[in-house]
Symmetry: C2
Subunit: 385 residues, 2 copies
């Protein structure tokens, strides 16, 4: 289905389109005629070269204001493949991924990143395609006190960095319920809170409703030293109303840690998180894993095709979108990578003042309309001849 | 700001990117490795050639089903410039545009189009930039019985075609209120109903709140012989909740008649209507006018720049997006044009069954959350350290 010789869409456009036309193509496709490249220190780029991951840096600026100072924040998006075979012991698999990510977070620190976010369920293979509970549920851990959270608290404190860690959560206080959760760790190394995935897919290999239910944590926004942030986990990006509630709660950056494969969603990938940035006047950070993952037992994909063992390829292509509709290029479709983007958070309010989307939202109309549409005896507004 | 030597993004990609890579680029950017070209009859293409407008045809198919037959519908999207100088008498200006559009609708009939939609306020220049009421309000007419509606009723009947006509409406029953309205005329030539623009811009040259208020017609879906259709007028495309309500009322195709200019919105244009198609599992038809319009008196744009007389260029680029995320190429950025797209409406339900977006929508949660967010004493859900 997908030609993985194409490292990224942007590389292909840069290579073939003549410079003058390229500017206009990029203006239409990326919202800027030329990307503002962020110079990254050698300490970061060397780590990337030595450890075989991509690193890219961009800057998205705002206008100078009279009263507010610029609010410059660097966000890091990490995409990666798993490390060990899925047949290895669960703790070994997790540790190997930890080790890889520790190095990328170190590079993020060298690049002066303030907030870093990993992909969805980053400590494990995306095993939900199998519908098997064993051994995959062993990857689940307590959000507040699990080994991954503890490990990252050290790094967060050492690097003065907010870390968003999406894990499979085991909720022992509620009967060992499993959740798909993002843990927010403050730059002082404190557990700040968590968000549970609001919308759960039942599509293709994404048998996630087999493992966990719709989240019960609402739409929290975390007020950090580096801005108000929120997390819309994976499939939640298909639901504009989910994005909206994070905006209504005041988010300035919404991260979208994901795991999704090319044949399913690649044409949608550049659309959804970017539309959310536009509609809600905030930044979005879309993160997807890379590589293919082979499982010990054959499984079927609900598509009438034969049982098989490999899930993927996940197509990476992580990017940042801005409230004014501009976006960065994507990371590679198949390599581990760190995308560093320097944002001026003042752009959010500037875009609100310019476009007036919140002001023209007519929220009471939709509260009422959604309520009516939810009722069992809802009669759609249909006009017939 | 914009290089109008670029006729369309698609032409540029086709010209410069080698065939093998082009397939993958198109798969990522357009959701299909190759567009399915719809052969159009000479009677249609000759009209286009003779009258200097572009014509393009595409097909978007669905899977064969056991029980339902394919529901094949052809939609036509018309984009155009105005004809006479804006200093000419209002009735002459309107008549000249009528004459141009009559020919394009004739070509649509030759191409067996079932539903045709023109751009926003198609009978007039987009004079709202001026903030002048005279003579522009003279373009307003009764939705039910105005001269444009009457003229189109003849064509609709003659061609067995549903026609969506976006006009400035004069509502004499309510104190000569002015509205931005789309009139729906059935293929039997009957006035079927109307929809009034739900969200009104206050941005740049779009001084529309000077002329009319937020619509009071809800989110009607019109059940026609050719499927359930709705209209999201222009600025309403920035509001995902607006798109959603048309979906909740059962729309299979939502038209987005627009008027928007390059410097303001071109990078957003390919994102918003397409995101709506994906999120709501229906087809969307995004239509924008072309050309520049010169007004008799200087006006300012609220951007700190000098007063001027020309509004534009509008960038055309009309396109159709499908529920599975695929989209057609866009029409030209600067020529009049007719985009004919053959759709199988069965794709809507097929995509719903595949992706489950309506089922996973959690509407009661959002009805409640939007209600809370609308209240004067709303406290956003914020977590602090």
């Amino acid at each position: 289905m997908s030609d993985f010789n194409l490292n990224s869409l942007e590389e292909c456009l840069e290579k073939h389109i003549p410079p003058n036309e390229l500017k206009e193509v990029k203006r239409i496709l990326y919202g800027v005629p030329e990307h503002d490249i962020l110079e990254l220190p050698a300490s970061a780029t060397t780590l990337a070269a030595d450890n075989d991951f991509e690193i890219q840096g961009y800057r998205i600026s705002a206008q100078k204001e009279h009263i507010r100072k610029p609010r410059i924040v660097r966000v890091g998006a990490i995409q990666n493949s798993i490390v060990l075979p899925t047949t290895d012991p669960v703790d070994k698999q997790r540790e190997a991924i930890w080790n890889k990510i520790r190095i990328i977070i170190k590079a993020a620190a060298a690049a002066e990143v303030n907030i870093v976010c990993m992909q969805e369920a980053w400590t494990m293979p995306f095993a939900f395609c199998t519908r098997e509970k064993f051994p995959w549920c062993e990857f689940a851990e307590e959000a507040e006190s699990g080994p991954t959270t503890k490990m990252l608290q050290e790094l967060a404190k050492a690097y003065n960095m907010v870390i968003l860690s999406s894990v499979l959560e085991r909720d022992t206080a509620h009967g060992d319920t499993i959740w798909n959760t993002t843990v927010v760790i403050s730059n002082r190394g404190r557990y700040l809170g968590k968000h549970r995935k609001n919308h759960i897919p039942r599509v293709g290999d994404f048998n996630e409703s087999t493992y966990y239910m719709e989240g019960n944590t609402g739409h929290p926004v975390f007020e950090t030293d580096f801005g108000k942030i929120a997390i819309n986990i994976c499939y939640g990006r298909h639901h504009p109303q989910n994005w909206m509630m994070f905006g209504l709660n005041g988010a300035e950056i919404v991260f979208n840690p994901s795991a999704t494969v090319g044949a399913l969603s690649e044409p949608l990938w550049g659309i959804e998180a970017r539309n959310a940035a536009i509609a809600n006047s905030y930044f979005t950070v879309a993160i997807n894993r890379v590589g293919s993952e082979e499982f010990p037992n054959e499984y079927t994909s609900g598509d009438g095709k034969k049982a098989h063992k490999v899930f993927g390829p996940f197509y990476g292509s992580s990017y940042v979108a801005a409230p004014n509709g501009a976006r960065t290029p994507g990371l590679s479709r198949h390599r581990d990578g760190l995308l560093v983007t320097e944002l001026d958070l003042n752009l959010c309010r500037q875009v609100k003042d310019f476009w007036n989307f919140p002001m023209t939202q007519r929220l009471p109309l939709y509260a009422e309309s959604f309520k009516r549409a939810s009722e069992l005896d809802f009669k759609p507004q249909v006009i017939r001849e």
